[in-house]
Subunit: 653 residues, 2 copies
């Protein structure tokens, strides 16, 4: 696999990328201006009306700085880990001293809370000091360690400071000493995967082989019989943490069979995608083509059969899990923001290894739709669950739809999504370009200025676009040497009439795995790329029961939705006429400038319906209407109301 052909592509270091994009800046600027400061207040329990995080307080107690009891969930430490990771990425763009000082304070605190043997976990240190590693099923120790590790690697990469990294290396060494196939070591693996991909990242900065060996061990051991988690709960020390785990099904955590036998995506969607990321990493590092095939099979199962049009996953509200092929209910699904982030991370790894643009198509879909629907335009409200159809009246507590929230929430008791969104937005740059020694893959159409080394060449790129509101971009490329560079421009699956001008001259590029390939010695050249991506009706595979007889609207990577504020109540009664082409309309004032879509259709009218009749033989009338759709990512940024992605189609003879 490590032939020249299969040399893995790399992201450009975040320090080298400066994003200045009309569409994305409205979100990315939130990270530094709003989310990081707001989350800092949250971590310190200073936000009125938001559930307390307890997170820093726990570290202060564990560090011996104060007394008190542990607060929050067993994985509460990850809040600060994801905050630090977001801070690290933000510092790559702008080395803000006061923010860095705040991070250094937290890093010192974490170091103080670290046990002598390297162990870090405030829940087990404060609350259950005798129960370390006795409940891998629910304890989240390895999951939490993974997020801290990721943060430490990110902070080291951002600042060059080693303190956090060194702390975490001591912890990682303890983990490597504790777990493994050798006699005397624990033959366990995490109840929530995450440590595996984090150990790979640690290997990437340290080149210390034992870290990926342990990551591989966790993957290889997973699902062997007898099942570790089922055995663990028979031990005396086992103490149940979550009531819902009192009956445990190994498939929930992808431990039902060995990972190489897993060809369909099962169980908890976030656990699954984090594991698939590590599987891709290990497949590459160990040149394991069989494991790569497993990754491809899992990816295909998701995107061909188990993924929402918005790039979200997890069809069941209960256990936040995958269900079965084509089971994609729109109003009771989970579709967790974190799971889409996991899918994007998995897709990025697959793109790096295989150089196929189809992975980026899905990464882009997940980022433009579900990542962004997860956060309000004010940066202070978040969706955990991302349904495709919401009727607020029916989203009641203590019902089957209790998990569906009709408005974004301030923060959550289990606060994985908001900091995960923050770190993803702050590291958006990693998705734009992928490079090897001589090739530059241009994946996402996001305006930026970037400088980096390509072997001995220094390259300067400037990408300018108003995507997704229009579909042209100008790429300026400067290189200090006239050696050959290959530019690989992604042709997205939705692009029509894809055209390239090089310095004003049309260029007919060869196409390889979904990329337009251009060889040249770019000293100072300008490429103008244009394509069409008109708003279109999109249909689901007829096997998707929930979408049969319905159409969605997409324009480029953006899925559109109807909102009550534009279309009145009862969106379920709207029938769209797909024989009339939808019209695009740029609204400068809305959401800072957005292309809305207007379609024609009818509405099932309740006007002549006797309100005292629930069922009746007289058919309701149809009224002509105009339908207005906005990008799904912006829904619920004006007022609470109904929302709908899949619109009934006016099916004619």
């Amino acid at each position: 696999m490590k032939t020249a052909r299969y040399e893995k592509l790399e992201s450009v270091p975040l320090q080298n990328i400066n994003i200045n994009d009309t569409f994305w800046n409205s979100y990315t600027r939130l990270v530094k201006e709003v989310i990081i400061p707001y989350q800092w207040q949250i971590l310190n329990d200073n936000v009125e009306g938001a559930a307390p995080s307890h997170c820093l307080n726990n570290f202060r107690i564990a560090a011996g700085e104060k007394t008190g009891e542990f607060g929050g969930a067993v994985f509460q430490d990850t809040d600060v880990a994801k905050w630090l990771e977001a801070v690290a990425y933000a510092l790559c763009e702008d080395r803000d001293e006061s923010l860095e000082a705040l991070a250094d304070y937290v890093i010192d605190l974490i170091a103080k809370a670290q046990c002598e043997d390297g162990y870090i976990n405030t829940y087990f240190t404060i609350k259950e000091p005798g129960l370390r590693w006795t409940n891998l099923t629910e304890g989240h120790e390895l999951y939490t360690a993974g997020h801290l590790l990721e943060a430490a690697v990110a902070y080291y990469n951002a600042t060059g400071k080693r303190k956090f990294l060194d702390s975490m290396i001591r912890f990682a060494d303890l983990i490597c000493d504790t777990f493994g196939k050798e006699q005397g070591k624990k033959h366990g693996y995490p109840g929530h995967q995450e440590i595996e991909l984090a150990l790979v990242k640690l290997y990437e900065v340290t080149k210390e082989r034992k870290y990926i060996d342990t990551a591989k061990y966790f993957l290889d051991e997973r699902g062997n019989m007898p099942n570790y988690f089922l055995e663990e709960r028979k031990t005396k020390q086992y103490k149940l943490i979550f009531q819902e785990f009192s009956k445990y099904e190994p498939i929930y955590s992808q431990s039902h069979i060995p990972i190489r036998q897993q060809l369909t995506a099962e169980g908890h969607a976030v656990r699954a995608t984090y594991m698939y990321c590590a599987m891709a990493d290990i497949a590459y590092e160990y040149e394991d083509l069989e494991l790569l095939k497993v990754c491809e099979s899992l990816w295909n199962n998701i995107v061909d059969k188990r993924m929402y049009i918005t790039g979200s996953i997890g069809s069941s509200g209960y256990l936040e899990r995958f269900t079965t092929d084509y089971d994609l209910p729109n109003d009771s699904n989970y579709s967790e923001t974190c799971a889409s982030i996991g899918l994007a991370l998995f897709g990025l790894r697959m793109a790096k290894i295989t150089r196929q643009s189809k992975y980026i198509d899905i990464v882009e879909r997940a980022l433009y739709n579900t990542l962004l629907s997860g956060i309000g335009l004010n940066g202070k409200e978040f969706f955990y669950v991302n349904p495709l159809e919401v009727w607020p009246d029916s989203c009641l507590p203590d019902t089957s739809k209790a998990h569906v929230k009709p408005v974004r929430q301030k923060w959550f008791g289990v606060a994985c999504c908001p900091p995960n969104i923050a770190r993803t937005l702050a590291s958006l740059g990693q998705y734009i370009y992928l490079v090897d020694k001589e090739t530059i893959y241009v994946n996402l159409f996001i305006s930026n200025n970037t400088t980096f080394k390509l072997e001995d060449k220094s390259v300067k790129l400037s990408l300018k676009t108003n995507f997704p509101n229009n579909n042209n971009f100008k790429l300026n490329i400067n290189s200090n040497k006239d050696n050959k560079i290959t530019l690989a421009l992604r042709i997205p699956d939705y692009a029509e009439n894809y055209k390239i001008l090089i310095n004003g001259e049309p260029f007919a590029a060869g196409i390889e795995k979904g990329y337009a390939m251009i060889d040249g010695s770019f000293i100072d050249d300008t490429l103008e790329v244009s394509f069409e991506a008109p708003a279109k009706f999109i249909y689901a595979n007829p096997k998707v029961r929930a979408d049969a007889g319905k159409a969605a609207i997409m324009k480029g990577p953006l899925v559109y939705c109807l909102e009550e504020v534009d279309n009145g109540e009862n969106l379920s009664g709207i029938l769209v006429d797909t024989s009339i082409k939808p019209k695009e309309h740029f609204e400068e004032e809305l959401f800072g400038g957005v292309t809305t879509v207007i379609a024609k259709g009818k509405r099932i009218s309740g006007k002549n319906w006797d309100t005292h009749r629930l069922y009746c033989e007289h058919k309701p009338k149809l009224e002509e209407i105009t339908i207005k759709a906005i990008p799904y990512c912006y829904w619920c940024n004006r007022k609470q109301g109904e929302m709908l992605v899949w619109i009934k189609e006016l099916l004619k003879d």
Copy 2:
């Protein structure tokens, strides 16, 4: 209220009715031939592959006949209570000695298990002797007492034997001494309503006022502040029984506000309807028009806004509860068989008090559809949950649809539905006629021979029909006196061209509250009644999001459904053409003779769809098809597969 006009109607004693109906006998014969003997084996834990009931074993332990531990749920005693009640009704029709001997054995056993002070409940006697009445929220003591009471009254009415009744009178006396507004008594009420309607029944046979006073007390106390259940759980003795009640919302048990302020149906649907039954009883007995208005408001809220077309209720799988107006999802609902039985019992009471046929319309809908879908044609398999749309592949354990079973189950750990179906089928006669001193209301079109006293007159009725396969019935009426009798023949809401012949001559009856009223002195007369009830497309109020753009098929009281076995897989892709009248077709071989319905339509075809694409801009093709529908009550009697009630409509311009 107790004016002549409002004198309550009464059912005819079951002993006097002999049902010999083509449609119903296939079920009612099951009661004696299959269900009662089968349930007897279940109660004795003799059925392989079925979850053990433990029920009689618990009584044997409580009676001191054997040692061992309590088994089953806290309300396990109700299994035998409902079995005895069904046996009692069966004995009304046919005084089978060996069955009666079996019942007497059980009654002796119950008496032996009774405590000295009258208390009966094997869970608390065996397992928690110190905790009597300390957990009304979850303990189900009063609920269990209620079912035993109902059984005892039924057995007394059937056989004239007092032993069981006397046992239960002692228990009822203890309950009346324990609960009430007086100082020193407990100011509590049941966590699951049932005792209230049972105490009214005990009053009806004993004429002992304290029983309805206590029933009224339970109703009046309910929902007063501070909430009894929330206070109870603060006490030391409180011991949580069900994990899901660790966070308790009083609305679940209709104790959130006083019952007279409850104008919408809320919470657990079975609890609700059992309470509404008692509210109607008490409204009548205390001539409480205000309470009757509350009952009417609750009824209207259910049937106008919260009831499925099949007469089932409970839109949420979680907590088996009502949700909100027009929230009627078809594939994730609970629609418990017991809740439809509760609705029928409530409707029967309202019909007795108000003499309005609209209540019987709903009773009939619940009985013909959901009661019967609850039981397989073999009498040995039962549905608890009655969805209107099932895709078996998606009904997976550990998902949001885990409560939906694609096939009827043998028995259940919490086995309320099967014995409830048995007692309902065995007491079907109570719904057919309602009478006062001089009026005979004919409600249901079920062939029967009936003899009874109407004040000083002896009346003989014979009703012959092949309803619902055709819509004619012949009513022969004989009376030994020529005093005036009023016959009130229900004109169902679905009847067209309703015609009456008396002794061959057309008769134009006056219509009162949905009944054709015929005064006469019927010595030996024959009425021939006919109406049309063709198969029709029915629509839901457009506010019902789940049914917008869809049509159901009904013929008379029967709701129809599509099954995979007749229509192929993926029923969601079927579009029915409602502009073409559906055709009826009598199939003699199917289900012992059934009218099936054939309609025309199209199917969204997957034939040209690239199976690797989940979403695509190319619209799937439509194919012409013929659609076959069968009565919903018969679904899943051939083979497992998809089922669908609400069919997408081919909506035309």
